[in-house]
C-alpha cells in the first residue's frame, strides 16, 4: 500500500483543521470513517492520500439524540447501531431498514452513516481504475460500454448510480446534514446535498474537500410515518442496490396525507419521484393506485443500451414498496 500518515481527529473541528493543515503542506488528504470502502480505494490507488484523517475518535458522534421532536444522529453512528436502534426503528423504519440492508454484518459493524452517505460510486469502471469523470477524467466509459448497472435517470455526462442505501431513506425523511467546514458549520437539506453529474461530474455531493458531516437531523414531521426500504440485489447479500425504493407514507386512517418516494440504484443521486408522491397524497393506497404509481415512476427514464430491464424493475419495486409501506 501507498505510505500515508494516519491522524485521528478528536472533534469535527480537529478533522477540518488536520485536513487544512495537510493541504497547506501540499499533502493530499482523505477522511476515513469505518474504513471498509476508502481503504480499498487506497489499496487500488484510486485515492492516494498522504494523510488519512480518521473520524472515529469523535466524541459523542456515535449517539442518537431525540429532542423537541427532532432526532439527531451523529455521523459516526454505525450502520449496525442505526439498524438496531429501537427509536429509529419505531419512528423512522425506512432508515433502520436501509441501514440493515447495507453490505454485510462486518461492514455494518464499522461503517458509519456519514461514510455510507458519502461513499464513492461502485461503478466498475471507476473501481477498476478507468480515468473517468469520477476519477478526475473527461469521459464516462459506461455510457456506451457495460452499463447494465448504470443510471436510467439523471445521467450524463457520468452515468453512475449513487451507491448509498441510507441516502434515499434520508431524502425520503426530509433529513438535513450538519456539515462543518473551513467556513464554519452549516445545515444542508438532504435533497440539496447530492449533485447530478451535469452540475459536478467529479463528485456526488456538495461537500467541499475539507468538509465533514457532523450529524444528520430528522425532522419531527415524518416521525412515526409508515416506511419501507426495499432493495433489489444481484445476490442476497453484499451488493449495492440494482434498484431500491425508500417509501414513507404519513397515513390518517387509510388515507395518505403525505408521501415520499425516493429511488436508489437508478440515478447518480437518490432519485425523488415527486409526481408519484403527488399521486399518492390525499388518496387511499389501493393495489390499483400502487400499480399506477409504479407506472408513473419511470416517466422520463432514459435507459442505456444494457439497462432497460431497470424500467419494469423500477415499476415493480415502487408498486410493491408502496404496498409494503402501507402494511
Amino acid at each position: 500500500m501507498k505510505t500515508f500518515t494516519s491522524r485521528t481527529a478528536g472533534t469535527p473541528q480537529q478533522a477540518v483543521t488536520l485536513a487544512q493543515d495537510a493541504r497547506k503542506a501540499g499533502q493530499p488528504v482523505a477522511f476515513i470513517a469505518g474504513g471498509s470502502d476508502l481503504l480499498a480505494l487506497v489499496k487500488d490507488r484510486i485515492v492516494e492520500p498522504d494523510v488519512l484523517v480518521s473520524l472515529r475518535g469523535w466524541k459523542d458522534a456515535d449517539r442518537i439524540v431525540a429532542s423537541g421532536g427532532q432526532t439527531t444522529i451523529g455521523s459516526q453512528v454505525t450502520l449496525d447501531a442505526l439498524s438496531r436502534h429501537e427509536a429509529i426503528a419505531a419512528q423512522y423504519p425506512v432508515l433502520a431498514q436501509a441501514a440493515a440492508s447495507v453490505a454485510t454484518p462486518q461492514i455494518r459493524n464499522v461503517g458509519t452513516l456519514g461514510g455510507n452517505v458519502a461513499q464513492r460510486p461502485w461503478c466498475w469502471y471507476f473501481r477498476n481504475g478507468f480515468p473517468c469523470y469520477k476519477a478526475g477524467g473527461q469521459q464516462c466509459f459506461s455510457a456506451s460500454g457495460e452499463n447494465q448497472l448504470h443510471a436510467i435517470f439523471g445521467g450524463g455526462p457520468s452515468y453512475i448510480v449513487h451507491p448509498s442505501d441510507t441516502a434515499p431513506a434520508l431524502v425520503a425523511l426530509d433529513a438535513s446534514f450538519r456539515v462543518l467546514g473551513p467556513g464554519g458549520e452549516r445545515s444542508i437539506a438532504a435533497r440539496d446535498f447530492f449533485v447530478l453529474p451535469r452540475q459536478n461530474a467529479t463528485q456526488e455531493n456538495v461537500l467541499g474537500p475539507d468538509d465533514v458531516i457532523v450529524s444528520v437531523q430528522l425532522p419531527a414531521a415524518l416521525a412515526g410515518a409508515r416506511g419501507r426500504y426495499h432493495k433489489v440485489m444481484d445476490r442476497e447479500a453484499w451488493t449495492h442496490a440494482v434498484v431500491s425504493a425508500a417509501v414513507v407514507l404519513k397515513m390518517e386512517g387509510d388515507v395518505c396525507r403525505a408521501a415520499r418516494v425516493v429511488l436508489g440504484g437508478v440515478a447518480p443521486i437518490p432519485w425523488r419521484l415527486t409526481e408519484v408522491e403527488r399521486l399518492l397524497t390525499g388518496q387511499r393506497i389501493t393495489e390499483d393506485l400502487a400499480a399506477k404509481a409504479g407506472e408513473a415512476s419511470v416517466v422520463g427514464a432514459r435507459p442505456l443500451a444494457k439497462n432497460a430491464y431497470k424500467i419494469p424493475l423500477t415499476k415493480g419495486v415502487v408498486r410493491r414498496t408502496i404496498l409494503e409501506a402501507r402494511g
Binding site: M1, T3, W124, Y125, R127, N128, F130, F141, S144, G145, E146, Q148, V232, D234, R235, E236, A237, W238, T239, V242, K306, N307, A308, Y309, P312, L313, G316, V317, R319, R320
Partner: protein, 726 residues
C-alpha cells in the same frame, strides 16, 4: 450432534469405511493451526509482486526497470530479458498433459513472461523486495513501452478472416501436434437423419467464463538450498508440480521438493505448477533468499485460469413419438490466448442416439486464460444440451423426466456396457423424493400471480476410471501405522478418506493411523487431486499396500523396538471386458421466479448420486452440497464481464463476480444410491465434480417451467429474466 446419514444401504457394510467420520485434521482446520502456503514464513524471506500487462494485446518494445532496481530493499527483478523460462503446463498441450514430447515440438510456447502479451494480466515483470509494500512500490516504478495491438474477445469473432491474429498460426487453437484442429465426433449419418426426421429443433446456448475463485488466493514460497529448490505452493498435484518445475527450470526432478500441506480449495486450476511458482523460484535464485509471492484477489481472477466460456449451436432430430434420431453440435470454446486445457463440451454421451455430428472448436481470444474448473467440460455442455432437450420434450408435449428415461444412454456412446448402471434408478428415486409430479407444471408459466414456481431436472454420468497410483504403508514397533500418499487435501477430505481406507484394509482403528501427505520428499507419486480420482486410484494403492503389509505381519510378526515393516504398492488396475466405469446422478430443482422483479429463489433441491460405495458419508455429502452451490453461482451469478472497447475485465473479484453467499445457498437434500461394482477402493467412484455438473441445467429448466420462457445464456441474471418476460 448427530449428522444425518444420506445413504440408502444397498450394499454390505464395512467396519470403518462408510461411517460418517469427522476429518482427521478437523481440529487444525477449526483452530487456525492448519498451515496454508501463505502462512509459511522462512528466515530472510522476501516478498514478491508481479507487474502485469494492462493491455489485452501488445508488443513490448522495452522495459526500463532502473528506477525499481535503485530502490533500497529491492533484491531481484526479472523480466523476459533475464528470464526466458517456458511455463509448460500453462500453454499449448492441445488439451493433453504437457510433456517432454510436446515440449520438443510445440510452436506456441507460453513463457513465464511473454512478448507479445496477450491478455490483461499477462505477467511482464516481477520484483522481490524486503517487504510486500516495497515490492509493490517497485513494480510501479518499472516503465514498459508497449506497442498496442488489436485484440479480440469473442470466440466466434476470433475465427473471422479479418480478426486480429493472436498467434501466427491463427486463432483456431492448435493441438499437441501443432495442428489447428477442432474436436470432431461422428456416429451414423446425421445429415440423412435430419432430412428424414419428423421434427427438427435448432437453438443456441452459451455459458460464461466463471472463475474457480478459491478462497485462498494463489501464493508460493520458494527457497533454494544449494541446487535444491523447495516450493511451498497450493497445488492439487504435488508430483505433477514437481516434475513441471524441474522440466521448466531444466533441473532434475529430485532437485525439486514440493510441499502442499493445506490448501484453500482447488477446483481444477491448481493441478500442475503455476507461473507463480516459477516466478517465485527464479526470483529466489536471483535474490539468493527465500521468496514469497502473493497474488492479489484481482490478480488471482485474471492471472489464474477459470472455466472456458462456450457457444453451443444444437440441432436435434426426433421421430414422431419423441425418440432421438440425431444430434448435431457446433461448439466454440474461448480459451484465452493460451490453450491450457481441452475446451471440450460434454453431454452428447448422455443420450441414446444413432446419429451424432459434433464439432467443437477451441479458439484463442485476448481474454483471461481458460482451463479446467471442476468438471472441466461438463457443466457447460450439460447446461446446453439438457436445456435443449428439456425444450424438445416440451415441444413434443412430453414430461422431461419421461423424455429423459426414454432417450438416455444405456450403453456408453451406444456401444460399451457400464460396470454398473443406475442412471434410471437415480432419476426415478430423485423424482420420487422431489415429488416431481406435484412440483412440475405441465403448462410452463401457469402459476397465477407474479411469483411463479416451476421444476426442472438434469441427469449425469461422470468418468470414474481406474488408473495408476502409489502408496506406502508402514507399521512401527509401537504398533503405529503410517500411510504415505502423494495426495493433497484440497478440501474434499482426501487425507481422511485415505485413513479410512487404510484402517479398513488393515483392520485397525483409525486412531492408530497417521497419514503423511502433500510433500514430494516424503510421499510417493499420486495422480493428484483432479478428475475426482484420488479415492479411486490412490485409495486402491492404499488397499494394496495395506494388504502387502498385513502379509508381511503374518509372515514376520509385528515389529518391535525400532523395527518397522513397510509395504508399498503401485497398482495400475484395469476394468475387465472393456467396460466403462461411470458415476451417475440426477438433480431436481424447484425455483420461485419473481416475474415482476426478475429474481430467482431455489425452494427445493434434491440431489441423487451413485458414486459407488461412499467411503465417508459426511465428506461425500459435503462434496455434493458444496458443488451444487457452486453450480448455483455459475447458473445465476458469475461472469467475468469485459469492456468491449478496452479489453479490460470489469468483474474480477468476489464483489463484482457475485459469488454466492450464505443467503444464496439453497438447502440441498442429498441421497446416495450406493453400489459396489468391484472396482475402485471398495467400490468407490468419482464424487468431487459430480455435483456441479448438474445444477446450471436443472436450474434453467426449472426457470422455464416457472415462467414459460427459455433462457439460453448463462448466467441467468435479472436483466435476462425481465428481458425474456418483456
Amino acid at each position: 450432534m448427530s449428522v444425518q446419514d444420506p445413504r440408502s444401504p444397498s450394499i454390505a457394510p464395512l467396519a470403518t469405511v462408510g461411517r460418517a467420520t469427522p476429518r482427521i485434521d478437523a481440529i487444525e482446520r477449526v483452530t487456525g493451526r492448519a498451515k496454508y502456503t501463505n502462512d509459511v514464513q522462512l528466515p530472510g524471506m522476501l516478498y514478491a509482486r508481479v507487474l502485469r500487462s494492462p493491455h489485452p494485446h501488445a508488443r513490448i518494445r522495452s522495459i526500463d526497470a532502473s528506477k525499481a532496481r535503485a530502490l533500497q530493499g529491492v533484491k531481484a527483478i526479472i523480466t523476459r530479458e533475464n528470464c526466458q523460462v517456458v511455463w509448460g503446463a500453462g500453454g499449448i498441450a492441445g488439451g493433453q498433459q504437457y510433456n517432454d514430447d510436446v515440449k520438443k515440438i510445440t510452436t506456441q510456447r507460453r513463457y513465464a513472461f511473454n512478448n507479445p502479451v496477450r491478455f490483461v494480466g499477462d505477467p511482464v515483470a516481477a520484483v522481490a523486495a524486503e517487504s510486500r509494500h516495497l515490492a509493490e512500490q517497485a513494480i510501479r516504478l518499472i516503465a514498459v513501452d508497449y506497442e498496442v495491438l488489436p485484440f479480440v474477445l469473442d470466440p466466434e469473432a476470433a475465427l473471422a478472416p479479418d480478426a486480429p491474429k493472436i498467434w501466427p498460426e491463427g486463432n483456431l487453437a492448435v493441438n499437441n501436434k501443432n495442428e489447428p484442429a477442432p474436436q470432431i465426433q461422428k456416429r451414423g449419418d446425421a445429415a440423412a437423419a435430419f432430412a428424414g426426421a419428423a421434427h427438427v429443433f435448432e437453438d443456441r446456448y452459451s455459458t460464461a467464463f466463471v472463475h474457480n475463485a478459491q478462497m485462498e488466493p494463489r501464493s508460493c514460497v520458494a527457497a533454494w538450498e544449494g541446487d535444491k529448490l523447495t516450493v511451498y505452493t497450493p497445488t492439487g498435484g504435488i508430483a505433477n508440480c514437481q516434475h513441471d518445475m524441474a522440466r521448466d527450470l531444466g533441473i532434475p526432478d529430485e532437485k525439486v521438493r514440493v510441499v502442499s500441506q493445506y490448501m484453500g480449495g482447488n477446483f481444477g486450476n491448481k493441478n500442475q505448477n503455476q507461473d507463480a511458482d516459477l516466478i517465485a523460484a527464479v526470483l529466489a535464485k536471483e535474490a539468493g533468499a527465500p521468496v514469497k509471492l502473493e497474488l492479489s484477489r484481482k490478480e488471482d481472477f485474471i492471472g489464474v485460469h477459470g472455466r472456458w466460456p462456450t457457444i453451443q449451436h444444437y440441432k436435434i432430430a426426433v421421430d414422431a413419438d419423441g425418440t432421438l434420431q440425431a444430434i448435431q453440435l457446433r461448439g466454440f470454446s474461448g480459451m484465452g490466448p493460451y490453450r491450457k486445457n481441452s475446451g471440450a463440451m460434454a453431454g452428447i454421451e448422455l443420450y441414446k442416439c444413432p446419429n451424432i455430428d459434433v464439432t467443437v472448436t477451441p479458439v484463442y481470444t485476448n481474454r483471461t486464460v481458460s482451463g479446467n474448473f471442476r468438471g472441466p467440460e461438463f457443466p457447460q455442455g450439460f447446461f446446453g444440451i439438457q436445456s435443449m432437450m428439456d425444450d424438445v420434450a416440451w415441444r413434443m408435449k412430453l414430461d422431461p423426466v419421461e423424455f429423459g428415461l426414454k432417450n438416455m444412454a444405456r450403453l456408453f456412446r451406444d456401444e460399451t456396457p457400464f460396470t454398473n448402471y443406475t442412471l434410471d434408478e437415480c432419476i426415478t428415486k430423485g423424482a420420487e423424493l422431489f415429488e416431481w409430479k406435484k412440483r412440475w407444471r405441465p403448462t410452463p408459466g401457469s402459476d397465477a400471480g407474479p411469483i411463479k414456481r416451476g421444476a426442472g431436472f438434469t441427469y449425469m454420468m461422470f468418468r470414474s476410471g481406474l488408473g495408476q497410483s502409489n502408496a506406502v504403508v508402514q507399521v512401527d514397533g509401537s504398533g503405529k501405522y503410517t500411510v504415505f500418499v502423494g495426495v493433497t487435501d484440497v478440501g474434499a477430505g482426501a487425507k481422511t478418506t485415505m485413513a479410512l481406507i487404510a484402517a479398513e484394509a488393515l483392520a485397525v482403528p483409525l486412531s492408530r493411523l497417521t497419514v503423511v501427505w502433500g510433500d514430494t520428499d516424503r510421499c510417493p507419486y499420486s495422480v493428484g487431486e483432479s478428475g475426482s480420482r484420488t479415492t479411486i486410484q490412490t485409495g486402491s494403492a492404499v488397499i494394496e499396500a495395506a494388504r502387502g503389509l498385513k502379509q508381511q505381519i503374518a509372515e514376520k510378526g509385528m515389529p518391535s523396538g525400532s523395527q518397522t515393516l513397510v509395504a508399498s504398492a503401485s497398482p495400475n488396475p484395469k476394468v475387465a471386458d472393456g467396460k466403462v466405469r461411470q458415476a451417475f446422478g440426477a438433480h431436481f430443482v424447484e425455483v420461485e421466479v419473481d416475474t415482476e422483479l426478475g429474481g430467482v429463489r431455489l425452494t427445493k433441491y434434491v440431489a441423487v448420486h451413485d458414486c459407488g460405495r461412499i467411503i465417508n458419508p459426511l465428506a461425500a455429502t459435503s462434496q455434493i452440497l458444496g458443488s451444487a452451490v457452486m453450480g448455483v453461482g455459475m447458473a445465476l451469478h458469475e461472469n467475468l464481464v469485459y469492456d468491449a472497447r478496452s479489453g479490460q475485465p470489469l468483474t474480477a473479484g468476489f464483489y463484482y463476480d457475485r459469488i454466492p453467499t450464505h443467503m444464496d445457498a439453497p438447502d440441498v437434500d442429498v441421497t446416495f444410491v450406493e453400489n459396489d461394482d468391484g472396482y475402485g477402493a471398495f467400490g468407490a467412484k468419482s464424487i468431487g465434480e459430480a455435483g456441479i455438473v448438474l445444477s446450471p441445467g436443472a436450474i434453467n429448466n426449472a426457470i422455464f417451467n416457472a415462467i414459460g420462457r427459455r433462457l439460453k445464456d448463462l448466467p441467468i441474471t435479472r436483466d435476462k429474466i425481465l428481458g425474456a418476460l418483456a
